[in-house]
């Protein structure tokens, strides 16, 4: 399977995605997202803090998941350079942002990934790596990643959309579940997810289809029970994440005839509490080329932050704290039901 970009798909264009989302909203005669925020006095949406610097170090990935909002894959060559990473480090050194969240693609495929993690660790910041698990077993050179993560006390956050092979492989590719289980055993073996180890292993659940996630607490109980009883695997927390209608997931919705009904579900489930707690209010997202965004989804839609300096080299924390966060129809994904963020539910 190729990425949308490599296959020349219309929805590989951010502008085409935004057009489609806005046209669908107009056709369905539903309230634009900004009107929903306005109705609860949240528009314009403003930051509440700057707690997380989420850095997308590249779109290259060993997997081609059907729902990927990054449109990542082996055919994506966009990779953050060491120079841009250094600019990120400069920003961290000049600020007190406590958490650095590394994502991709498979961030470990960036040739400077380990150096970057080491340098962030030297600055005393908490590092999260969004590891797709299979990268650990994809090549012998990645087999020592669990130990590398342990050495730097990295928090590992890994997608596992279900506790069986059928649903997982349908979303993430043939054989992904089996490889994920192998990788989870390797992470557990060095202490990840084990009680009192201090090594945090969190899993991410996202629905394998056009429906919303159920109760995070209930899903976590099921995952813990089945993964322990059937595979002897332990982990800390499960983050239930709603699929955002962007990129390949948007393509799936359209191709399967679910776009209208899915958006309707999200809109009907609009939750003011979740809207107040959206992750874009306390984070900045950095693209592989150093451009700044309100979140990873805005990044994929080419919606750079609304401040004069939009590159990591021009990072101005004061200006960013005064900015207006850009919202559009895809934002309904983060405000539906119990809310959704890179750390799970928000309400």
């Amino acid at each position: 399977m190729k990425s949308l970009k490599a296959s020349g798909h219309q929805l590989s264009s951010a502008a085409a995605q935004i057009d489609l989302l806005e046209q669908q909203a107009a056709t369905q005669q539903r309230p634009p997202f900004r009107d929903q925020l306005q109705s609860i006095d949240l528009f314009p949406l403003r930051p509440t803090g700057l707690d997380v610097l989420q850095i997308n170090v590249g779109k290259m990935c060993n997997q081609v998941c059907k729902h990927c909002h990054v449109d990542a894959g082996p055919d994506r060559k966009e990779i953050m350079t060491r120079e841009t990473m250094q600019e990120c480090l400069n920003v961290l050194a000049q600020t007190s942002i406590p958490v650095v969240d590394l994502t991709g693609g498979a961030p470990e495929m960036n040739p400077n990934f380990r150096w970057f993690v080491e340098e962030i660790s030297k600055l005393g910041r908490h590092v999260i790596v969004r590891c797709n698990l299979t990268i650990i077993v994809a090549n012998p050179k990645y087999n020592d990643l669990p130990d590398f993560f342990r050495q730097h006390q990295v928090e590992v956050v890994s997608s596992l959309p279900f506790y069986n092979a059928d649903k997982t492989d349908r979303q993430r590719g043939q054989g992904v579940f089996q490889d994920s289980i192998k990788a989870l055993h390797m992470l557990n073996a060095v202490g990840y997810g084990q009680p009192d180890s201090g090594l945090i292993l969190n899993l991410v659940y996202n629905p394998a289809g056009a429906f919303m996630p159920g109760s995070q607490v209930s899903l976590e109980q099921q995952f813990k029970r089945v993964l322990l009883s059937e595979f002897g695997i332990v982990f800390n927390s499960l983050f239930a994440i709603t699929n955002i209608p962007v990129s390949r997931y948007l393509d799936y919705l359209v191709a399967s005839g679910n776009h209208d009904s899915y958006m309707e579900k999200l809109v009907n489930a609009f939750n003011p509490t979740a809207a107040a707690g959206v992750m874009c209010r306390n984070m900045i997202s950095v693209g592989w080329d150093g451009q700044l965004y309100d979140c990873d989804f805005n990044q994929m839609l080419d919606l750079t932050v609304r401040v004069p300096g939009r590159h990591i080299s021009e990072f101005d924390a004061d200006a960013l704290m005064q900015r207006t966060i850009i919202v559009n129809e895809h934002c309904y994904g983060c405000t539906a039901g119990a809310g959704s963020s890179c750390g799970g539910t928000t309400a």
């Binding site: 279900f162 069986n164 059928d166 649903k167 659940y205 629905p207 289809g209 429906f211 919303m212 996630p213 159920g214 109760s215 209930s218 899903l219 099921q222 009907n268």
Partner: protein, 110 residues
């Protein structure tokens, strides 16, 4: 083509209060309480609802509880087994009544 069933009507369920608010409010309050976590989990209740939906052959309920069981992380195998439970009870109910038929046959036959 007009049909008796319109999928869009499922979303109008709450509108039954338009003709009788007090009873509708009581019903929806009761409904919410029934499906909350209790001695049974909300997940188990959803699977029961899916099975009953097939027994009463309610298209709205099948739509709603297929979605609900998926949201609650049920597998396709669990969902189909729930429907088989409904089918077994329904089939068993038919067949166990054949004892009445057999009794009657024996009563009236030489």
């Amino acid at each position: 083509m007009e049909t008796y069933y319109d999928p869009a009507d499922l979303k109008k369920f709450g509108q039954i209060s338009e003709f009788q608010k007090e009873l509708a409010d009581k019903f929806f309050s009761y409904y919410g309480a029934v499906f909350a976590e209790g001695a049974l989990t909300a997940r188990e209740k959803s699977l029961i609802a899916l099975a009953v939906a097939h027994t009463v052959q309610c298209a709205y309920c099948i739509d709603a509880y297929t979605n609900d069981t998926l949201e609650k992380g049920c597998t396709e195998a669990e969902m189909m087994e729930a429907v088989h439970v409904a089918a077994a009870i329904r089939g068993g109910s038919t067949l166990v009544h054949s004892v009445q038929m057999m009794n009657k046959v024996k009563q009236v036959s030489m």
